[in-house]
């Protein structure tokens, strides 16, 4: 009887051992995540309008907020810059004539004054441009965003107001990382 118990126990152990080592299978899944670099500007509205700009005055366009988002590989000197530019020296045009880029000024997060930049320089390779945000280090914030109030205005401080009519144009905004 004792030897039977021993045999049974032995058999049980054998079965357990057999089950543990009998069937194993494995495979693997390769996981790759590519986080593409991000660099974009999104305006709060698509159109800004100025009504009845007067002579010898600075007339603001309606307000625009811009949100700049970036996710970049950085070094110790990586900086973010925001540039606005027009396609030609005529910022806006209409049946009554043109409005020059020299008469359009911009300022981030403050009211436009006569000292605000107009769109007459070349910035980051873009002519008819203005530097809206001077290079800001993003070394410590490689993946982030910022929202700024973009104030635009027509400056007729020293020129006659345009003739009655409707004038249209397109201001391009571009974020630059360097």
């Amino acid at each position: 009887m004792k030897s039977l118990r021993t045999l049974a126990a032995t058999a049980a152990l054998t079965l357990i051992a057999g089950a543990a080592s009998a069937q194993t299978a494995s495979t693997s899944v390769a996981l790759t995540v590519n986080q593409a670099a991000v660099l974009s500007i999104v305006p709060s509205v698509g159109t800004a309008t100025a009504t009845n700009p007067a002579s010898n005055a600075i007339t603001p366009f309606s307000g625009v907020n811009i949100t700049t988002t970036w996710n970049q590989a950085v070094t110790a000197t990586t900086a973010l810059q925001i540039v606005g530019y027009f396609g030609s020296a005529n910022a806006l045009s209409g049946t009554s004539g043109n409005i020059l880029t020299s008469n359009v000024r911009a300022q981030l997060n403050a009211a436009v004054t006569a000292a605000s930049p107009n769109f007459t320089t070349t910035v980051a390779g873009f002519p008819n441009a203005a530097e809206l945000l001077a290079p800001q280090s993003i070394t410590a914030t490689p993946n982030s965003q910022r929202t700024d109030a973009l104030n635009l205005a027509l400056d007729y401080s020293s020129v006659a107001s345009p003739m009655a009519g409707t004038y249209t144009g397109t201001l391009n905004l571009v974020a630059v990382v360097q």
Partner: protein, 202 residues
């Protein structure tokens, strides 16, 4: 000795490579996609008439009846306009009294507009003045501009085409006024009236 020279060369090579890589990063520029913002400027039409001088005219004389008396100073009128393209086709300047029968009224009666006359004695601008000789305020004006029987049309101007000179311009006129009371006895008293000068674009 040879191996030292080789290590040095290797160090120099790595140093140059590091400089080259660093220079490349410093000059690299990443541009986001351009984001457009549409800009609109709306400049509405304007039309104004101002009296540069002669807005107040006073005649003080014991002998106004039965004669013609000029008011003391000419009225200098400046009309300015700036119209949006294809928004108007004609412009008129009309002087009129709101109540022709009582153009200049006082305690003892009134002087009708037919007794007040005007002429344009000087004109600068694109429009041709109409009353170049003394004319009474007995017309009807132009369309809704003026009052029937108490108006004098000073000029009309056709706004045709979209040229800047047509759509945006100004006209300066000197208007002389006089009171023609021939055959009219004016009782003693103070008489006052208002001559309205109105530009209208249609």
């Amino acid at each position: 000795m040879r191996s030292r020279t080789g290590r040095d060369r290797l160090r120099v090579a790595f140093a140059l490579l590091a400089i080259a890589v660093g220079a490349g990063r410093a000059s690299a520029q990443i541009l986001g996609a351009p984001t457009p913002i549409a800009l609109n400027v709306n400049q509405t039409s304007t039309l104004s008439v101002i009296i540069q001088s002669g807005a107040v005219q006073t005649l003080s004389s014991p002998s106004l009846s039965n004669q013609t008396t000029n008011f003391p100073a000419p009225v200098q009128i400046l009309t300015s306009w700036d119209f949006r393209p294809n928004s108007v086709s004609s412009l008129s300047l009309v002087a009129f009294f709101a109540s022709p029968a009582t153009a200049i009224a006082g305690p003892s009666g009134a002087i009708p507009s037919s007794r007040v006359e005007a002429q344009i004695s000087s004109s600068t601008g694109p429009a041709t003045p109409i009353p170049t000789t003394w004319s009474p305020f007995t017309g009807s004006g132009v369309g809704a501009n003026g009052v029937a029987g108490g108006s004098l049309t000073l000029w009309t101007f056709a706004v045709t085409g979209n040229s800047a000179a047509v759509r945006r311009n100004q006209q300066q006129n000197r208007m002389d006024l006089r009171l023609r009371l021939t055959g009219f006895n004016l009782p003693t008293g103070t008489y006052t009236g208002t001559l309205i000068i109105r530009a209208m674009a249609l």
